[in-house]
Amino acid sequence: MAEHATEPFHAVERQREANRFGMLIFLSSEFLLFGGIFAAAMALRLENPDGYRAAASHLRLGLGTANTAILLTSSLFAALAVEAVRGARPRRTALWLGGAALLGAGFLGIKGAEYAMEYREGLMPGTATAHFSGPAEQIFMNLYFAGTGLHALHVTIGIAVLLVAAALAHKGGERHAMLVGNAALYWHLVDIVWIFLYPTLYLAGVG
């Protein structure tokens, strides 16, 4: 049921292309938002490699790896949801979208647990109990909380968008397909940012 395209577009196909193109441009700018943090981490690593590695070793590699696996899996679910909506199967779309959102929530759960442990160890800057063995460690923890905090915010927004798309799955139609497509793109970007945060923060502390 080809719906009528809104306002400036004549053909729905053209509007879907424009929607997706616009979303990808927005995601490029969102990725560059994290660019500042990657640059700051690189600067610290170049300036003080040993301090950087020592500070990074405080993080729990196990939880970080688990979180990466969770996000990659939830990215798969989002991609499968796009396949399902293309096959016009609303129930399955809602299922995959719900699954992706659930895994996202799992990611946030683990992240929260990590933050709690780091707070107890006095590694959370700006808190009363914070004590650091040196400036390199303090700056690393600053970047860790800035980077993963901003990422967690994006994960939360992503979960909300996925759930909205899942809730509207029964309506179907062109507009919903566009919503699922863009929600999946946003979710994949959130995953890609974490793919690069993982070596920057967690893997740097090993060995």
Binding site: N48, P49, D50, G51, S133, G134, P135, A136
Partner: protein
């Protein structure tokens, strides 16, 4: 060249004269490239204005050769000046070894100068004419910038590290010295003067301005601090603590724990005191405490001067 002309700053060093020559010749080249634009624009606007019967046949739409030439030729011409300017820039960034170091500490809204001989000055710097002077500068709060227009030189003074600036002023006189990087409320009054004196007058001035206190020179003050804050406890030869020896250290390569080696310049000595765990010497554990909040920039400068002065004699 045009020294002292009302709209042209004084020239107090050879570098100043070369910079003036550079900007004058570059300005001339720039005018040669732009006067035709202004002239042609005005002429075309008048000659081909609407309603005037004139031959408008065969107006060209584009011409790759012309367009390529008037983009590449200015670029190549400018490259020549790029090389000249970069060479001048590299000259003022590499001080001669015999340059006399002067410690400079910038703090919100004043300049402190400390000569090796122990003389200390606020907002004014006396230097001998004709001898290279090297300023080793750091800031105690925000970024400042030491700017002497008459020498055409400027260098930001960054907190937490040393930046340096060297010059050879060759004309005695009193030249303005200003802060060029916005540093807060009284940024505009944070200035003073560079007073270039004939070498004879300078040594007379130096004699009158001895610190007069117990430590005659900066290095002597550094040595007193070396014992007072407890450096000698670990770094003296007879101490039981396993700490690197500081004899004959300045300017020598130091193997570090991460396998790289580093020349022990002022920056390394400053960091070794303020951020000891940053570059740990090879074969030693990072047990040295940080003196970050114990010593101010002036005292660190004195300690660095002392370590540069220790030619191997190990004073008890």
């Amino acid at each position: 060249m045009m020294a002292g002309a009302p709209l042209w700053p004084q020239q107090a060093s050879q570098h100043a004269r070369s910079v003036d020559l550079l900007i004058a010749s570059f300005g001339a080249m720039v005018w040669l490239l732009t006067i035709p634009v202004f002239v042609l624009m005005a002429w075309f606007a008048i000659r081909y204005r609407r309603g005037r019967t004139v031959n408008r046949e065969h107006s060209p739409q584009s011409n790759v050769w012309i367009e390529a030439s008037w983009s590449l030729i200015p670029f190549v011409l400018t490259l020549f000046f790029y090389v000249w300017a970069t060479k001048l820039f590299l000259d003022i960034q590499s001080p001669p070894p015999e340059a006399v170091p002067v410690n400079v500490i910038a703090k919100q809204w004043m300049w402190k100068f400390e000569h090796q001989s122990g003389a200390r000055e606020i907002n004014e710097l006396h230097v001998p004419a004709g001898r290279p002077i090297r300023l080793v500068m750091t800031s105690q709060d925000v970024i400042h910038s030491l700017y002497v227009p008459a020498l055409r030189i400027k260098q930001d003074v960054v907190p937490g590290r040393y930046t340096s600036l060297w010059f050879t002023a060759d004309r005695p006189g009193r030249y303005p010295l200003r802060c060029a990087e916005f540093c807060g409320t009284d940024h505009s009054v944070m200035g003073g003067a560079l007073i270039v004196m004939r070498p004879s007058d300078f040594s007379a001035w130096l004699a009158q301005h001895q610190d007069g206190g117990a430590d005659a020179t900066l290095a002597a003050r550094g040595e007193r601090l070396f014992r007072k804050v407890g450096c000698s406890g670990c770094h003296a030869a007879r101490s039981a603590v396993h700490a690197p020896s500081l004899d004959d250290l300045y300017g020598k390569p130091v193997p570090l724990s991460d396998g790289t080696t580093r020349i022990a310049d002022e920056q390394y000595l400053h960091d070794a005191i303020m951020l000891p765990n940053k570059e740990v010497a090879a074969g030693y554990r990072p047990i040295m405490p940080s003196y970050g909040n114990l010593l101010d920039a002036s005292e660190v400068g004195a300690l660095v001067a002392y370590m540069k002065d220790r030619e191997g004699e190990d004073s008890e």
